[in-house]
């Protein structure tokens, strides 16, 4: 992984000193809250429902064991001994203090971490395929470019006061595991064709996003030679910065500009800007690319047999282990190695939360068996990207003793949930208790296995931090005359077949949600052609009708009920 050099160290230390000075001026009264708020947000500090919240950047979801231990330490020393991994691959601490924040940032800087631009109307932490560098289907390791973007976007003087926040996601693999279609800019590394044959570049997608106006990103550039990434991003950002709406916060994201202009006109404006930019002054010099790429050189691992007798024997005798192996352990690009997913979704627990002790347990596993690497996924889980197959049993045993061995990756209990009204001042309804009740309802592993791959996402408000639009089943918390209600959407997908879910009908009170989900699952399991047909495939084949009828009855059309509800 990338390591800071003297310059990077000096940069984050300067940033800590700057924020310490800004906090001092705020407490002394030289800065009003209005003037201070964008500054603290650009250092990851929110004022939430109960307290300040610090959002720590995990650049493109990559952590070392030492960094994870420091996160555990910070959570214990200045917070309440746990943290919440987010859909932006970051970590949130819910009980921070303004007066402690500079010290927390200084502690992060010691391990080459920061909170820069984890909030605010600026370019946020770039998210990436959590299997980057180890996935068998990878064209090129996207982490090199994610790090390039991290450096380029950090305190980019032109783009700190954009109309609204700006999120970039990148993948270098054939399968999209970074939900690039739901980002302001999605980057997919592609092999060139025709005149670009033999080259590697980016497919650039723009204007995706969730929130109250969800859009799937549109193609902006089919093949951007990778060496021009930064000048092209700069041109795109400049068009957005100058022309994105600033009169209405709900219409300020780039997706609104792109869809108002039409993607062709937006592309024309970007190309016009790009043609005027002096590219060599912006683009990454080859020497700098080489310097950064060296840090992401593949591990020098000897291929090993892809079968292991001990593992095979245990799989046959230990159902829990077999399930975990089947659901959480993925193929690695080097034979005899595996990608191990660590679920933070034990049914009944808070999705994405980890205690300091659990963070330390994962750090120890990364040191002992995982080549010192940990990833955070946007599904709010962790990954040990490289574990020898022969060590997988030992990793499982250690996870089991830390309460981290739930074998439910991408199953119905692997729920994405935002903090909701339990922590968030923007929320309309709680998300965590609903996630817990649903997970408990499907806690029987055999039941979850039978249902198969299913993305269930819950947001506590229309801002959609819980990605409900992209869930095969999405749940949105709404405030209905002072009570928490939940709207259900079906058919969303965050993957290559990206789609936005459709609202099924009127909302339900919290206590009826698990039953409603069970009804929906019942329609799927009785309607699927075979167990090989996923929930999403069945939904797409059958349409919403049988699900609506099962939930609301055939007598009334759901549109009527929506009208009545409004």
């Amino acid at each position: 992984m990338y390591r800071y050099d003297e310059f990077d160290h000096a940069f984050v230390n300067s940033r800590v000193a700057q924020f310490r000075d800004q906090v001092g001026r705020r407490l002394a009264g030289d800065l009003t809250e209005d003037q201070f708020k964008p500054l603290r947000l650009q250092n990851g500090l929110y004022l939430q429902l109960h307290a300040y919240m610090l959002r720590i950047a995990v650049p493109y979801g990559v952590l070392s064991a030492r960094q994870m231990r420091k996160l555990a330490f910070i959570a214990r020393k200045w917070d309440r001994g746990f943290g919440h991994f987010t859909t932006r691959q970051n970590l949130q601490l819910n009980w921070s203090k303004l007066e402690d924040a500079p010290d927390m940032l200084a502690a992060l800087a010691e391990v080459e971490m920061h909170c820069i631009q984890t909030s605010g109307n600026c370019i946020r932490n770039t998210t990436a395929d959590p299997y980057a560098g180890v996935a068998p289907d990878e064209i090129e390791d996207p982490r090199v470019w994610a790090e390039v973007i991290r450096q380029w976007s950090s305190i980019h003087p032109e783009f700190l006061f954009l109309p609204r926040k700006f999120k970039v996601a990148i993948t270098g693999a054939a399968e999209d595991r970074a939900a690039i279609a739901f980002h302001d800019i999605g980057l997919r590394m592609v092999k060139g064709r025709g005149e670009n044959a033999g080259k590697i570049g980016f497919g650039v997608y723009v204007g995706g996003g969730q929130g109250r106006t969800p859009y799937v990103a549109l193609p902006l550039n089919d093949f951007l030679p990778r060496e021009h990434l930064l000048s092209f991003l700069e041109a795109t950002m400049r068009v957005y910065n100058l022309h994105g709406r600033r009169d209405n916060i709900y219409k300020a994201r780039i997706k609104i500009l792109v869809n108002a202009l039409g993607v062709d006109e937006f592309r024309r404006q970007v190309m016009a800007e790009w043609s005027k930019i002096e590219k060599p002054s912006i683009d990454l010099p080859a020497s700098e690319y080489q310097r950064i790429a060296k840090y992401f050189a593949p591990l020098a691992l000897a291929p090993k047999p892809n079968e292991d007798n001990v593992i095979a024997a245990r799989r046959a005798s230990d159902a829990g282990f077999a399930r975990w192996l089947r659901n959480n352990v993925m193929a690695h690009k080097i034979a005899g190695h595996r990608i191990v997913n660590i679920s933070l979704k034990e049914p009944g627990k808070v999705p994405g939360d980890a205690t300091s002790e659990q963070m330390e347990a994962v750090a120890a596993l990364a040191e002992q068996f995982g080549h010192d690497e940990i990833r955070v996924t946007y599904q709010q889980n962790l990954v040990l990207p490289t574990v020898a197959l022969s060590d997988v049993g030992k990793v499982y045993d250690a996870l089991l003793s830390s309460g981290l061995a739930t074998g439910n990756t991408e199953l119905i209990t692997d729920i994405i949930a935002c903090p909701g009204l339990d922590y968030c001042s923007l929320a309309n309804a709680r998300a965590i208790p609903v996630a817990q009740e649903i997970a408990k309802r499907f806690a029987d592993p055999a039941k979850a296995d039978d249902i198969g791959p299913l993305r269930l996402n819950i947001s506590g408000c229309i801002n959609a931090c819980g990605h409900h639009h992209a869930g095969n089943i999405g749940i949105l918390g709404v405030d209905k005359k002072g009570t928490e209600h939940y709207q259900i959407t079906l058919g969303g997908s965050p993957k290559d077949d990206a789609d936005i879910g459709s609202i099924l009908g009127p909302s339900f009170p919290a206590e009826e949600v698990p039953d409603a989900i069970e009804t929906i699952i019942g329609v799927y399991t009785s309607g699927r052609i075979s167990k090989a047909e996923s929930f999403l495939q069945t939904y797409r084949r059958l349409g919403a009708k049988p699900f609506k009828e099962a939930l609301y009855g055939p007598s009334k059309s759901s549109t009527q009920r929506i009208v009545e509800e409004v």
Partner: protein, 172 residues
Amino acid sequence: MSKLWKNSRFVNDTFVVVDDAAPLPQATPVIVSLKRWRESRGELLALKAPIGVAVDATAEFDVATDDLGKLALIAIPFAKFTDGRGYSLARRLRDTLTFEGEVRATGEVLIDQIPLMLRCGFDSFVVSHAPTLRTLEAGHLSVVREVYQTAVYGRARTTPSFGRVPVLEAAE
């Protein structure tokens, strides 16, 4: 009470802002609107004094006819400090249009944004916010000197190399 900050110190403002309807003073540096510059270029050039143009944050310069080379100053407003369009306008002026005159920031110019403005090509600042005035008087600019981007700094362009550019030192 606003003051003009330039080259790391407060200086007297030699320019006079002239409303569109007001008569043009003789032999005095003036700042007029882009509209007036476009309409009365001949009259303005005949004044034989430095001419500045105040634009709004939506300004689209017409490279073919705006004759930016004849201008001594372009003033860009920050109606609110959170309105970041001015940064992109300044970079267009410096990078794309290679404007060499003074680029002046007006409006809500606050201490924590001045370093960003400097890096985008602004080189003078009309400041009225009291704590900002006080902090500038004290010569205390809270700034991250290490920068990852190539970016203009006043008239001095940095070497085109990614990162590792101690930009702010260059012009102090």
